[in-house]
């Protein structure tokens, strides 16, 4: 979230799209209801009427996978009806920037596309530069090559008729949402958006979110109280795990994973440290080398020296141009190229797309190590349905793990609040915290390398890993301090803006990432968390003060919020170029002439009207402004509607490019696809339910939860059920080109048919919380149906839109 949960109460309009907030983020929904009580309008756009819809002002059904069309239509409405926040757009976005004259968009493709590689050469996705190497701008927004005009032109194709025909949303409903949401494009109104897996689980997921970010920039809703683009993330510490690099392409703190095209530290740092010639852009990632070197020092301690590039080459590297997502992992496993798997706190035999392929892949492993609080379908795959245990060579280990309340540590919520929690009870019997399991495994591996040697032994033997307490057990606090970072030498820090200095002793903690060094005199495991302790070791994550000086629910002394306890990021954009709050009623920040007062500002510099010392508000962006033109995305600088990999249409109504041109197509014989097929005529989506958690591997064992949602069901609209002569609670088979599941029919008024390109399209949906292991007579995984395909930027699988058939069982 750019903002945080409590801040949702400050909004005037809340668009919930790509999320079933009431069911999956019940605590977040409390704050949405607070906003509603104060008169905010709450809108739910979703294929299915859910418990969220029931509490919103109204629900608008939309066909799965057409969100960019819907939102593109909103951009068209905002731009062509002059509903944007002019002052904000001109000053705080790249709308005035002039784009490379060779940049083009034609029939669904941007300039530079290579169909063989399914990849773009981004050479033309650039700006026109002046003599100083600074992007040229037209602040009147009239130049036909300026970002604003190109954007307006791009989305002029997203007319009400076209969008309605693609999405299945009536023109009346489209206008209703567009008018309501665009009403926040004024200084004293705030609009916010809540999304979750309903947006990420698409082949166009990242671009859906980017389209919304563009809308928020156009309406001046970024950086303000009650605004932002807000991913609602879940209880399994999704925020914390991404912050600490659960995704293969990241190092901690969203630094880039090493790859083979950067063979040494110098090349790597040059490649990833952005350059900007505009003195008013803070271009904060100029500090990239400090974060990287401090990270290497945290990994390798004294062994990391300038001479050995701080151990840069001890870290593994990704092969250039190759990807390593969960889907790639199982694809390679299915090919027999992966020998062992550590599967901790996860149940991919249920939760990964194309479960049939995943389970076949597991059979090709030599060993599988699971650490979980219960057995699950992954660990027990060898005696699953249709598997002959005598034919499975894989040796499986199940390590009993501690549950969340049985261990100390930090948890991060979606609002980036990192809260320290204490152990409530000891884990039962032999169960250990994952940290303890890892410490023991690593000790053994280190001992083996020390004794026997092996390839790249230094990378293992030099790991610092001094994370034990006096009794040899895992010490979460020691890890947290290493994540925060230490001074490795006596140092004097000088504040460049004020000239003030402060001395630090070797061994003290680094109180802010602004003080990190690239010379090896600081360590820091994750730069965004630097500042979670003060130099004397005070754990700010454990703070529990309830003061709220702004009255807007920032609660600055409750837990620690990265970065530097800033509760709303890009908050300088809540003020005009002179630092005066746009909305005095919801003032999170104001410039008093010599300093900012309110939330922790995005940097101490004066507002941008001060041409000498002032900086633009979007300090993490190279150019200091929000990107309406976003060349960082692999699909192109402006999001474009493409159909899901499997959809009901043979042709994209907007272009001749049916699917996202940059997605990777998996080619194993189990990766079959059936687009616009008569055999699989119904759009299908999958989701969780309130009563179960993710794959259900934890909650299915809980009798009270299982009592409420005991078995797999498919939600079917009344008309389709009538057509198929399916009665409520009948057993049915749902099948796709990849597999079939048996489940109960839940016939409901909450799914209505869509009118798409003149034809009636039905949609159905199933929860993904069930597996064969427990309950014993229950159903198996919904993911037998889903395809192995994902977003082109993140490889998040497309669980939310594919095609199925439904028949009476």
């Amino acid at each position: 979230m750019t903002n945080h949960y409590i801040d949702l109460k400050n909004a005037d309009v809340i668009l919930i799209m790509g999320s079933n907030a009431a069911e999956h983020h019940p605590m977040a929904f409390k704050w949405i209801l607070r906003a509603k009580e104060k008169g905010a309008q709450i809108i739910h756009v979703d294929p299915r009427y859910t418990r969220t819809s029931a509490r919103c002002d109204y629900h608008v059904p939309l066909r799965s996978g057409t969100d960019i069309a819907f939102l593109g239509g909103m951009i068209n409405y905002i731009a062509s009806n002059d509903k944007f926040f002019h002052d904000y757009v001109v000053n705080y976005t790249n709308a005035p920037f002039l784009v490379n004259p060779d940049f083009q968009f034609n029939d669904g493709l941007f300039s530079g596309y290579n169909p063989e590689k399914r990849k773009y050469d981004k050479a033309t996705w650039t700006f026109q530069m002046d003599a100083n190497g600074v992007p040229m701008k037209d602040f009147t927004l009239q130049d036909p090559r300026c970002v604003f005009q190109l954007m307006k032109q791009h989305y002029s194709r997203y007319t009400l008729d076209k969008v309605s025909s693609i999405t299945g949303v009536s023109k009346e409903n489209l206008l209703k949402v567009y008018e309501a949401y665009a009403s926040t494009g004024v200084p004293d109104k705030a609009g916010t958006e809540c999304y979750a897996l309903g947006w990420t689980h698409h082949t166009t997921g990242s671009q859906i979110i980017r389209t919304m970010s563009m809308i928020q920039l156009l309406l001046g809703n970024m950086g303000i109280a009650g605004g932002g683009v807000n991913a609602l993330r879940g209880e399994p510490n999704v925020q914390g795990s991404t912050d600490h690099c659960i995704l293969y392409g990241n190092l901690p703190g969203y630094l880039k994973m090493l790859n083979t095209s950067c063979p040494d530290l110098k090349t790597y740092l040059e490649h990833y440290t952005p350059k900007c010639n505009d003195p008013q852009s803070a271009n904060f990632y100029i500090n990239y080398p400090k974060f990287t070197v401090s990270f290497l020092k945290a990994m390798y301690g004294d062994a990391a020296t300038p001479e050995n590039e701080f151990g840069y080459n001890w870290l593994p590297k990704l092969d250039d141009g190759k990807h390593y997502s969960l889907m790639h992992l199982f694809d390679k496993m299915y090919e027999g190229k992966i020998k062992g798997l550590f599967s901790y706190g996860t149940d991919p035999a249920v939760s990964s797309p194309n479960s049939g392929k995943v389970r076949k892949a597991l059979e090709k492993l030599d060993f599988l190590v699971s650490a979980n609080i219960f057995d699950n379908e992954t660990c027990s795959f060898w005696h699953g349905p249709g598997v002959d245990p005598t034919q499975v060579k894989t040796e499986c280990f199940l390590l009993p793990a501690a549950a969340t309340m049985e261990k100390e540590g930090s948890q991060s919520n979606s609002g980036r609040w990192v809260q320290w929690k204490y152990k409530a009870v000891n884990p039962p019997e032999d169960a250990l915290a994952i940290g303890d399991i890892q410490i023991r495994i690593m000790d053994t591996i280190k001992a083996l390398y020390a004794k026997e040697g092996g390839p790249n032994a230094e990378s293992i033997l030099n790991l610092k890993w001094d994370y034990k307490d006096g009794k040899g057990n895992f010490d979460a606090l020691k890890v947290a301090k290493q994540i925060n970072g230490y001074w490795l030498a006596d140092s004097t820090y000088e504040d460049k803006l004020t000239g003030a200095t402060k001395d630090f002793k070797k061994g003290e903690l680094v109180p802010s990432f602004g003080m990190l060094k690239d010379d090896g005199t600081t360590s820091c495991g994750n730069w965004i968390m630097s500042g979670s302790f003060d130099e004397k070791g005070l754990n700010k994550m454990a703070k529990r003060e309830k003061d709220d000086p702004t009255g807007l629910g920032l609660y600055p002394n409750w837990a620690y919020c990265w970065p530097v306890n800033r509760r709303i990021i890009y908050n300088r954009a809540s003020c005009d170029v002179n630092g005066k709050p746009y909305n005095p009623k919801r003032k999170i920040l104001a410039w008093t002439g010599d300093k900012w007062v309110g939330d922790v500002p995005d940097g101490p510099w004066p507002p941008q009207a001060d041409k000498e010392k002032g900086k633009y508000p979007f300090i993490m962006k190279q150019d200091g402004v929000g990107s309406l033109f976003g060349p960082g995305m692999v699909e192109g600088p402006f999001p474009e509607h493409y159909e899901p990999l499997e959809g009901p249409l043979a042709k994209n109504p907007l272009s001749n490019q049916l699917i996202n041109p940059t997605i990777e197509i998996f080619k194993s014989e189990l990766d079959t696809v059936a687009n616009a097929s008569e055999k699989f005529p119904y759009v299908c989506t999958t989701y969780s339910c309130t009563e179960h958690w993710c794959s259900g591997a934890l909650t299915r064992w809980q009798a009270w939860l299982l009592e409420m949602q005991p078995e797999l069901y498919v939600e079917i609209g009344e008309q389709l059920a009538r057509d198929l002569r399916i009665g409520n609670a009948d057993w049915v088979h749902v099948s796709s080109a990849r597999g079939r599941v048996k489940c109960r029919a839940m016939v409901t008024k909450r799914f209505v048919p869509f009118k798409v390109e003149g034809k009636t399209v039905h949609q159905v949906g199933l929860p993904f919380n069930y597996g064969w292991l427990y309950p014993e007579d229950g159903s198996d995984s919904t993911n037998f149906l889903t395809p192995t395909v994902g977003d082109a930027n993140t490889f998040c699988p497309e669980y939310k839109a594919f095609m199925v058939n439904v028949e009476r069982a």
Binding site: A22, E23, P26, M27, F29, K30, L33, Y49, R51, T52, S53, A54, R55, C689, T690, E691, A703, W704, L705, L706, E707, M708, Q709, P710, E711, Y713, N728, A729, R744, A745, M746, V747, T748, K749, R750
Partner: protein, 264 residues
């Protein structure tokens, strides 16, 4: 009814309920009620009805109003804790009684399992367990109230849909809320059976909701029973305090009820 220190009312605002069912689980957890083996009946509602081990549940109801607007209605069902409680009137053993909070509790130790309450209750709340031969129902977490804690369902409610407090304050809160909501919203609970200690704010007219009586009242048979026969049972209790005699005394009315309601 006993003199009580303070009457509590639990207010269920259906316009704030997201049907997360935290209340349903919290109730089972606090009261240590086991789960039933269920199946999906084509609805989120599960179990299908109140049971001896399910004292509260959310009823899910798909409803299209007279203007053609689709709504998904959620109603937390459970004991209404009537002031003029038919179950208390009907109970021959004194197991069902009003506590000092004005709510209806149940002393399972002295319950004789006669089921008089099950047919008397206008809300169909008390449930019989064949194994223990006792009646079960919500007591609004008497043990929690005694210790200054809100009922488990109130504590678990995330959105503030379930709140509780002093009776008059809560009644005022209910009417203020309905005024703010406008439209068809109504207060349900204070205008019958002497006023219930569980009240609803409903977004639709009461007649729309499944299994919610529009004008609940104490059945005439129970009034007759209380006025004509029950005094004898109390004399009997006072004089002998013997369960056998008690059972003999209540047997007649009990069987009359069974035949009348066509049960078993």
């Amino acid at each position: 009814m006993k003199e009580h220190k303070m009457e509590y009312v639990k207010l269920i605002d259906t316009t704030l309920c997201t049907a997360c069912r935290g209340c349903q689980v919290a109730c089972k957890q606090w009261n240590e009620n086991p789960a039933s083996k269920t199946q999906n009946h084509g609805s989120y509602q599960n179990p299908q009805d109140l049971e001896w081990n399910t004292w509260t549940l959310i009823r899910f109801q798909e409803y299209t109003d007279t203007d053609g607007n689709f709504k998904w209605l959620f109603r937390k069902d459970g004991c209404m804790h009537c002031t003029d409680a038919a179950c208390v009137r009907a109970c021959p053993s004194g197991a069902l009684h009003h506590t000092d909070y004005g709510v209806v509790a149940h002393n399972r130790e002295i319950c004789i399992g006669c089921k008089a309450c099950t047919s008397a209750c206008p809300f169909d709340i008390p449930r019989y367990n064949k194994t223990t031969e006792k009646i079960y129902k919500c007591d609004l977490c008497y043990d929690r109230l005694k210790n200054g804690q809100p009922a488990a369902c109130v504590k678990a409610c995330i959105t503030g849909a379930i709140t509780m407090g002093e009776k008059e304050t809560m009644i005022k809160k209910a009417y203020d809320r309905v005024e703010k909501l406008g439209g068809k919203a109504v207060v349900y609970g204070d205008k019958f059976v002497g006023g219930t200690h569980v009240m609803y704010i409903l977004s639709e007219p009461p007649a729309v909701y499944d299994k919610l009586p529009v004008k609940p009242s104490v059945p005439m048979s129970v009034i007759l029973w209380k006025n004509l026969f029950k005094p004898f049972t109390l004399i009997g209790m006072g004089a002998i305090a013997g369960a056998a005699a008690l059972h003999y005394l209540i047997k007649g009315p009990h069987e009359v009820h069974e035949k009348k309601e066509g049960e078993e």
